[in-house]
């Protein structure tokens, strides 16, 4: 009897669980004493400021220790992430990362879904324009209200502000959303080009800049990758702003302290962050929308070219306990390319540069018609990756 097992279904279910864990309903876990999980970096991309995330951001953790200076190395974060990666390689990217899952969804989205997203974001923008006009100004460290330079260009008055900011948003986002409906061809980012880009994003904004470059506005070295991270915008900025717009009376429903809507136990030093959303916020939102658009045209662009955690995991793909390999004897490579068609990372498994990009989703292993894509797994994980469902590499497997 043929097995009804489908790796895609299992993966989607696990991804939804990962999405909720990384960015969803488990926020209440962060508010329960002791706040246990916030001591650990999550093994996938979340954000420090994600009000819904149960744990700390791995990328933020590492950058934070770099910004401290005094030669402090994030031993725990590196060891913790490395330990996960040495067992599973990049599998957390393929199975649990919420931002990876979002990119999968965006790529699969049909036109109707795109319209729904556009409508939702437009509603959020209108609401934010109404409740707290962006770019208006902010309260500085000395408690003084500082007007935004942009705001000085306009007059005052609530309705005038609303319409002006709405007009500004329509221009910015209208241009970006128009991209959704122009007919661009889907494209693949080559492994070699992707390698260059991810080395850049790992070294420059993630390692070198946090080590050496001070943010003049804050007088401390900043986590520069965070300033361009679209995952942070998705899972931190938008929820934070939406939370801020809610009446405080509903905060207890989310397990939040009424005195501090964002951070449990009143550790936040301010109560409303909306006036602080200025040009940088607009820039981040614009970059996010641009990323969403690119994600509809190419598979997992962020994972492939930008994610520093994915890049960190990549090196472990060559020797991790669980990994995908190709049997040279049976692979039909270009003649078949099923692995390329089903791969969420858009890689050809038989290409030698693909090893570091593989996120271990196991789609190729379960669908390869020639059983050339095989899974390496230790015997103690046999109950998870059974021989019945996946093609398992044998010790005796050898090249011709």
């Amino acid at each position: 009897m043929a097995s009804k097992f489908r790796n895609t279904n299992v993966k989607n279910t696990v991804q939804i669980i990962g999405f909720l864990l990384g960015s969803g309903i488990f926020y209440f876990m962060a508010t329960l004493p002791p706040v246990f999980l916030k001591r650990f970096p999550m093994p996938w991309m979340v954000c420090w400021s994600d009000p819904l995330a149960a744990g700390a951001c791995p990328s933020g953790t590492i950058q934070h220790f770099f910004t401290l200076g005094s030669g402090v190395i994030p031993f725990f974060a590196i060891g913790f992430l490395g330990l996960i990666a040495v067992f599973f390689g990049r599998m957390t990217c393929g199975w649990l990362c919420p931002f990876g899952y979002l990119q999968d969804i965006f790529f699969r989205m049909k036109v109707l879904a795109k319209w729904i997203i556009v409508a939702l974001v437009a509603l959020i923008i209108v609401y934010l324009c109404w409740t707290s006009p962006m770019f208006a100004g902010y309260v500085n460290d000395k408690g003084k209200y500082v007007s935004s330079p942009l705001m000085k260009l306009f007059g005052k008055g609530r309705f005038a502000e609303f319409y002006r900011w709405l007009a500004l948003y329509i221009v910015i986002f209208g241009a970006l959303f128009a991209l959704f409906f122009l007919k661009f061809k889907r494209f693949t980012i080559g492994n070699h080009f992707a390698n260059w880009l991810r080395v850049f994003f790992f070294l420059v904004p993630f390692i070198i800049f946090p080590f050496f470059v001070t943010d003049p506005a804050l007088s401390i070295r900043g986590p520069w990758f965070c300033k361009i991270c679209p995952s942070g915008t998705t899972f931190a900025a938008i929820p934070q702003f939406l939370f801020a717009a809610l009446p405080k009376s509903v905060f207890p429903l989310f397990g939040l302290d009424t005195s501090s809507p964002f951070i449990p136990y009143g550790l936040a030093s301010y109560s409303d962050i909306r006036p602080m959303g200025q040009v940088m916020f607009g820039l981040k939102i614009s970059m996010l929308v641009l990323f969403i658009w690119v994600s509809t045209l190419s598979k997992r662009v962020f994972c492939k070219v930008m994610c520093p955690i994915g890049f960190f995991y990549s090196g472990f793909n060559y020797f991790s306990a669980v990994r995908v390999v190709v049997d040279k004897k049976t692979c039909r490579s270009e003649k078949c390319n099923v692995c390329w068609k089903v791969c969420p990372m858009d890689i050809k498994l038989y290409d030698k540069e693909s090893t570091s990009h593989c996120i271990g989703c196991l789609e190729c292993v379960s669908r390869c018609p020639f059983k050339a894509a095989k899974l390496v797994r230790p015997s103690f994980l046999e109950w998870v990756f059974s021989r019945r469902h996946y093609t398992i590499a044998q010790k005796t497997t050898s090249e011709a």
Binding site: V35, K38, F40, C47, W48, A56, C57, G60, T61, H64, F75, F76, I78, G79, F80, G82, L83, V86, Y138, H192, F193, W196, F200, P205, V213, P216, A217, L218, G222, P223, W224, C226, K227, T233, A237, Q240, P264, L267, A268, I273, M276, G277, Q278, V279, M280, F281, K284, F319, A321, V325, K328, K329, C331, Y350, K352, T355, K374, V376, S398, E399
Partner: protein
């Protein structure tokens, strides 16, 4: 036999493709796995301050992670003032990286390198 014939057809294709990964070492975790796993455990222990008595590092990093995770980070959300100078430098280095990539890609193509197809 048809199976045997198809197998014979497949093998030359696979042999010609030099980029196919080796499947020779498909076996349980090897030496490198155990070595790296032990190093990672060692790093974690240093990070938790458990090895302080042996002279490694000093205090646990977990409170630092916790403290930062519980503080709203302006950078992550994109709040605060924009610094065009620094973000511009990152963009500038990106452009330089792309130019260098292009130059190397073209040079490799001319010399008939791996990416010169």
């Amino acid at each position: 036999m048809p199976d045997q014939a198809s197998q014979e057809k497949k093998e030359p294709i696979a042999r010609k493709n030099s980029t196919v990964s080796s499947a020779r070492n498909e076996r349980s975790p090897g030496f490198l796995f155990w070595l790296v796993a032990l190093v990672c455990i060692f790093l974690m222990l240093i990070g938790t301050g458990a090895l302080e008595q042996f002279g490694f590092s000093a205090e646990s990093q977990l409170p630092e992670i916790y403290g930062t995770a519980m503080t709203l980070c302006l950078s992550c959300i994109g709040l605060g003032e924009i610094n065009f100078k620094i973000l511009g430098s990152i963009a500038g280095i990106l452009v330089i990286t792309l130019v260098v990539y292009k130059v190397i890609a073209v040079a490799t193509r001319k010399t008939g390198g791996q990416h010169g197809k």
